[in-house]
Amino acid sequence: MEDLNIQPPKGANRLLAFFCKTEYLEDIQGDLEEEYILKHAKGPLKALLWYYWQVIRLFRPGLTKSSKINHLIPTNGSMFKNHLIVALRNLWKYKAGTVINVIGLSTGICAFILIALFIKDELSYDKHHVHADNIYRLTVKNFNQDGEVNRHWAFASAGHAQRLKADYPEITHAARFYAWAFPDIQVGDKVFPSEQVVFADDDVFDIFSFRFILGNAESAFKEIKSIALTEQSAIRLFGNDWRNQDILGKTVQIIRDGMKASFVVSAVMEDMPQNQHFHFEYLAPMEFLVPVFGESMNNVTGNYNWLTYLRLQDGTDPRRIEEYKDDFFDKYVGLFENGIPAKKAYDFELQPLLSIHLNSHLEGEIESNGSLQQVYIFGTIGVLLLVVACINYMNLATSHFSRRTKEVGVRKAIGAQKSSLVQQFLTESLMVNLLSFPVAILLTWLALPYLNDFMGKQLTLNVLENGELLLGLVLLLILVAIISGSYPALFLSRINLIQALKGEAAINSNKWNFRSWLITFQYAVTIGLLFTLAVIEGQMKFIQNSDPGYRKDQILHLSMTRNIRNLDVFKNELLSHPAIHKGTYASRVPTGRLADSWDSGFFKDETAVQTTFRLPFILADEDFLETFEIELVAGKNFTSAMEMSTDSVGYYLVNRAAAKALGFDNPEDIVGRKLSYGQYNDHIYRAGRILGVTEDFHFESLHSEITPMVILKGDWNMRTICMQISPGDLQSALTHVEEIWTKFDPLNSPQYQFMDDLFDQQYQAEERLSSMIKVFTVIAVLIGCLGLIGMVGFIIETRYKEIGIRKVLGASIFSIISMIGQRFLLLIGIGCLVALPVSYFFISGWLNGFVYHINIGLLLVILPAVATLVLTLLTISYQTLKASLINPVECLKDE
């Protein structure tokens, strides 16, 4: 009896339904099922296999649906097949040519895909926030007395956000982020030193779209002492299995400067996406800080450390908010003590969220942003490389196909239409493309991890999950096939029938034709890239060789923790090692940023006049100058006896730039003058003396000008200790440092770096750009050389007889070589004329990003041209030499 519960395999049925004619499907399937059930009784597995096998064998012409593919094939279907066969045959016959073509195309395509992925990521920053279009960052500008922009901070003062929001209804939400130094976090008895806890206003969750794993936007800041974690910080604090620990409601201690506060974990967010311009791991409510800062929370000038974001009502023009600024400063500040109205000195600007990553390079950016310029440079290079690869293919294919003029002639003679010939050659191009694409994707896949590593990205080439990407690749394939295939196809189909059949050279290689322009273009790209590379390398070399004004070699930079209390003892113990000579504590060290800045006033006579320029400070001890070997041009250094915090006088060192900015061109004259600097909690510095003047040194990178700065003698907030170490005993010195460290702070491991590494890190972006350009240049040169090999071979082939005759008539080897080579000289010349101005335009923009940069000299201009020439000669030398050494008999014997 038939068992109704037995179900035939669904997959097989689906397959059958897919190909079987619908009018036959029902009864055939019925037949299959009937037998299946019978067989099932004997052996289910066997029946299953049988079923599939039968379905597969039903795939026969009479039973399948009429295929739609049939309509895709051109009407002359039989010719298409012929084209396919001929194409395959030729690809196989000219294996070397095929390989060259595939290498050229696939590297070009690979470079393009990589760049496209990179750019797509760069352009995607911050777009995931639902209100992205209405979010703006409040940035503050400071003008000098002449009304020029003096400073432009990515930050605002503490009071801006709340006051603006209260005064202007267009601002619906306002939130500040404040990274309150780097407190230690304690969970149970484990201490995590220097975690970046960021305090934020409640509005932050209405402005940004953070995604929550546990808790939600409403509950996150319900309590004043609550803290929202991200997945990463949750893992750090609670271990990998935090999800099983029910961590909501658990307590963590935040410890700073001996203060301890218990915070309750209120939410866990997803990690902030990589394509966001800031990444915080801990968020805590701003309210907690109100008692700490008190009145200064309302300031609208000074202390530019408050990252401020505004969300405007839909459709509000941010310029309108900016127009309020004069009223705003009048209302809250009015006149400064020195009689200057605040509105003359300050201004704010609303920066669209979406433009921050690529366009904003203000003072104090939270993370190093991308650059639009880099996107342009890479984008241009990507397109150029793709075009160069296509051009290369065009050139090679044209010269390749021209061996087949007879074939074209015969086809034409027996009635092939032009369109049929075009189709034929397009088919061949498509075949090469179809071969190149998988290779390109494989190359991309192999290169991607390196690119990611290098650019600090997380790009993926997951074609299966990313439909957009797949579509893009298919479009790219079609585009490349059409661009690269069209010219050879059109060109060959136009050949004159008689000429073709006679076997005459279809292309006079001597003539200046479209192909010469193609080669010129290739040269232009290569030369442009070489020039760009030369300039970048030149600048990097300049940076490496430039004297920053301080010693950067053999200096160990050790980050301090708050557990180390007795600074003097710690330092002395470190210095007890024979290889460690000098050591200095400092709040910040060169290669960092001059971020801390307080208000200051300079005493011209007996009254202090507020300084109008920014005068940042660092704290250091008396050994700072000596350790970094910074020259003192006037006055004296600190002495160890000077106590800043207790001494009402105070001691300052300023740099030469500061002396100049204060109106003393001769540094000697400023020594001994009075300066009042800053006001910070219990550290009140009033009317100190300028003790000495240091030579200018590049505290910040060469991108920015040497700014006026002041060095305070201090013994608090010393974040680092730097030591000079003699080169020989490095290893034992390091061991010594670690030993001493463990004695003083057993909880943390020492974090040390070398100054020269820190120095190099300042130019990481440039270093990356340089390496990327290097890779692209190599690709361009590789493609270009491949093209040249093909091109020269072709020229020689078409002028084979000419070479023979010239030799018979007594031409020297050199004259033959120059006959072939001079052509390229001309092309290189034109390439230079095109490439150099264009790339000069690009690269001078890049160079201007450095205040201190090289000038583009004649050498840099000549170098790429010469390099190209040498490369060309090397590439063509083998074939050319072979041609020039030819025995004329060989090429003239048969007609």
Partner: protein, 110 residues
Amino acid sequence: MKDFQLGEFEEIVLLTVAILFGDAYGVTLKAEIESRLNRKVSIGALQSALRRMEQKGYLNSEFGEATAMRGGKRKRFFTVTDLGKKALALSRETRNQLWDAIPDMAFKIA
């Protein structure tokens, strides 16, 4: 004449359809051929032969009643058309003629 030509498998299928008069559909046809001729028949081969001959006009087909069996799918019953009968007859006649033409001496089954 040429139009009436049948392939070997086609002929077998056509004959079997005739044998199973009224009950000729996929499964029975297959079983019948397999048991009578002792050879394996794939559904694909059988079905394509059936459809081909239907197109040529040797066979007619119609759906039977739907039953609860075979997932409610109807059977397609085949019958031999007049043209099919003619083709069979012709095929048989040709063979006979050929058989008859063989001289006795040349063909002796051992």
